[in-house]
């Protein structure tokens, strides 16, 4: 029946996923049987007792036994389903003490992750396989919701407080995660990739940011970083004014800043703008860009600068 | 189908023809008797009062939860309200409730003059209440104890980064919303009382027809009843 389950449900990426799927499939078959029974009765009665002029129908007002049976049986069934749902949900609600903790800060429309060692990523997480991982989440603006379909978990992210979610990934490779609480224009673009690594790969990735970048030209890698790290949300590449200045033609230009002076946009300026974005803000823009310190590894900064150079 | 019909030509008011109210100009065509019409109006009014309870209730629930969120701020903010003024307004409203119910009694016992006098005293009480409220409000305005982002008061104990905790502004948001909504009800009440006072002085009400007096009375008592809860919640619990 695996193929049948996969028609309806995404691949299973965690132990919890199997729990959810078992209940889901039970409810599916139960519903199928009940629905077919109801549909059969309705259609069969409509056909079997179809209209004959003058026929007198029996005067059946009620049947207490039958009515008790069809009230109590569903109730018992509901009790079973409730406890089944509760039992598996407890495993979602209570995180084990030894979980690795990752902090999520969600904002329109970007996911920021912070690891215990202080490294940060955006829209891209790596987690070790078969280790419970717990996310402590908060939002900087409106409600968001961290939803990982393969793990069968989601939870709202509420500004002003922290909420928690956890799972144990069991399947290596890429899993999709996405925002499930409506948060405005970029809601449906607020998604990213979760990579489940072996323990060793994960450690290495944490230290170096991985070595995927080596197989790309710097400007291509920079282009990818623009998408992944959320630069694209505010900085256009075609000259359109966004939340921040467009990157088109910005490299090598003298820009007037909000402090009234003009500065040359060169490698040093760009690097400073990523690490301390509000030190020099281009005039007429708001100082709202978050720092990408820890979020960008050296290869990412090099790549982004190389990419911006190409946008003339 | 087992339904029979009554010939209306012979029995123009159907069942329950107990003989009163048929010639009353206030009798509406879809009611059989004046009594049925009166009972129906009362059910309608009580349903409306239940919606009022839930409308105000939402604010009470919000106030309670915010109090639990900012207990210290709320405790401190309570001190800005003057207990004697709250107590005075409570007495005024309770007294007006009594004059109201005496007004209803007068209408029901065909005492036209007493009805008008009691209604006028009730209206007077309402104005006294509003006068006291005006005094209280202007005091709050002077001190900057205002709702939401209008809050300008200085010298609050709990400060965060040099600004007063948002709990203070929230307290006064609720204070102004709840007493304000209550005040709006008082103003509407004054209009209704004036309306039935005018009709009463024209002699429109008698023991057979005094529904508007009774319904406005119920409304007025509800306004009083809500104040009975607002008073301790804002002025006494500190």
């Amino acid at each position: 029946m695996e193929w049948f389950r996969s028609l309806m449900l995404p691949p299973q990426g965690s132990a919890f996923a199997a729990e959810v799927d078992n209940l889901y499939m039970f409810l599916f078959w139960l519903s199928a049987v009940l629905f077919l029974g109801i549909a059969f009765a309705a259609i069969y009665f409509a056909f079997r007792y179809r209209y004959v002029p003058g026929r007198v129908t029996p005067h059946i007002t009620h049947n207490t036994t039958l009515e008790i049976v069809w009230s109590v049986l569903p109730l018992l069934l509901c009790v079973v389903i409730f406890f089944w749902g509760l039992g598996s949900w407890m495993k979602y609600a209570v995180a084990p003490g030894e979980s690795m903790e990752i902090q999520i800060t969600a904002k329109k429309w970007l996911w920021q992750f912070e690891y215990p060692d202080g490294s940060r990523t955006a829209n891209d997480i790596h987690v070790p396989v078969n280790k419970p991982v717990k996310f402590i989440m908060t939002s900087e603006d409106v409600l968001h919701d961290f939803f990982v379909p393969d793990m069968r978990v989601k939870h709202d992210i509420v500004p002003g407080r922290y909420t928690e979610i956890w799972f144990t990934p069991t399947v290596l490779g890429a899993h999709h995660f996405t925002c499930a609480e409506y948060c405005g224009k970029g809601h449906s673009d607020m998604n990213g990739k979760m990579t489940v690594d072996t323990e060793a790969d994960f450690k290495k990735w944490l230290e170096t940011g991985g070595d995927e970048w080596k197989s790309y030209a710097p400007e291509v890698w920079g282009k990818m970083q623009r998408e992944q790290k959320g630069c694209a949300t505010c900085h256009s590449i075609d000259g359109t004014r966004g939340q921040g200045p467009s990157w088109k033609g910005i490299y090598g230009k003298m820009e007037k800043m909000s402090d009234g002076k003009s500065y040359l946009v060169d490698d040093a300026y760009l690097q400073e703008s990523m690490m301390q974005p509000n030190a020099k803000v281009v005039a007429s823009f708001e100082p709202i860009m978050p720092s990408f310190q820890g979020l960008l590894h050296p290869q990412d900064i090099r790549g982004l600068i190389a990419y911006i150079k190409t946008l003339q | 189908m087992s339904t029979s019909t009554v010939d209306l030509q012979q029995d123009p008011h159907g069942h329950g023809d107990d003989g009163h109210g048929h010639d009353d100009p206030h009798h509406q065509h879809h009611f059989t008797t004046m009594e049925q019409q009166f009972d129906t109006s009362k059910i309608g009014m009580w349903l409306f009062l239940a919606t009022e309870v839930l409308l105000f209730g939402g604010l009470f629930v919000g106030f309670g939860l915010m109090q639990a969120r900012f207990p210290l701020e709320f405790k401190e903010a309570h001190e800005h309200l003057q207990r004697p003024l709250g107590a005075l307004n409570t007495v005024v409203l309770l007294f007006s409730s009594w004059t109201m119910v005496m007004g209803v009694l007068s209408a029901r016992t065909n005492q036209r003059k007493k009805l008008v006098v009691f209604l006028l005293i009730t209206i007077l009480c309402a104005f006294v209440f509003l006068g006291v409220k005006y005094f209280e409000y202007s005091h709050k305005f002077e001190e900057g104890l205002l709702p939401g982002h209008f809050y300008k008061h200085v010298g609050d104990k709990i400060q965060i980064d040099g600004h007063p905790s948002p709990g203070y502004a929230t307290f006064f948001s609720f204070y102004f919303m709840m007493t304000g909504l209550h005040g709006i009800h008082i103003v509407v009440g004054i209009a209704l009382l004036a309306w039935i006072a005018v009709r009463g002085s024209r002699g429109e009400f008698n023991s057979n027809y005094y529904t508007p007096v009774d319904l406005v009375g119920l409304y007025w008592h509800l306004v009083d009843l809500i104040w009975i809860y607002l008073f301790p919640l804002y002025y006494l619990i500190t």
Binding site: I136, R161 | K42, F95, S97, W98, D224
Partner: protein, 126 residues
């Protein structure tokens, strides 16, 4: 119009007694507010308020002798308000507030320690 059967004088006397009782209760509740019962302050004040409200409903609003349906409607209003409060409190009183390892000061959870860690106020607020 069940009130027809009452004697108007007796009825007026009942209203007068009700008013006096309400005024006495007001005096009691104001007096009690100067005594500190600690956590019971709220209970005392709201109990007296409820007694007063009941008196108003029963006598001034005639519920005592009125058709039962009107009392039922009034009770339903308060009952459903009670349900609203009860379930909302159920949530608020049993919430857990997890904290991250690297607490960012600007988003401290306010419910845990309301005074000290209330969320920061935005600059435009002032």
């Amino acid at each position: 119009m069940s009130e027809h059967t009452h004697n108007p004088k007796a009825e007026a006397a009942v209203y007068a007694k009700t008013l006096i009782t309400l005024l006495i209760l007001t005096a009691i509740t104001v007096g009690a507010s100067y005594i500190n019962f600690g956590a019971m302050n709220v209970v005392v004040a709201l109990t007296i308020a409820t007694i007063k409200a009941t008196l108003v409903a029963l006598f001034f609003m005639h519920l005592l002798h009125d058709k039962p349906v009107n009392g039922l409607i009034a009770a339903a209003g308060f009952l459903f308000l009670g349900l609203f409060l009860m379930f909302t409190l159920l949530d608020f009183d049993t919430r857990e507030n997890p904290k991250p390892f690297n607490l960012h000061p600007q988003v401290a959870a306010p419910a845990a320690a309301p005074a000290a860690t209330a969320p920061a106020v935005t600059p435009e607020h002032h």
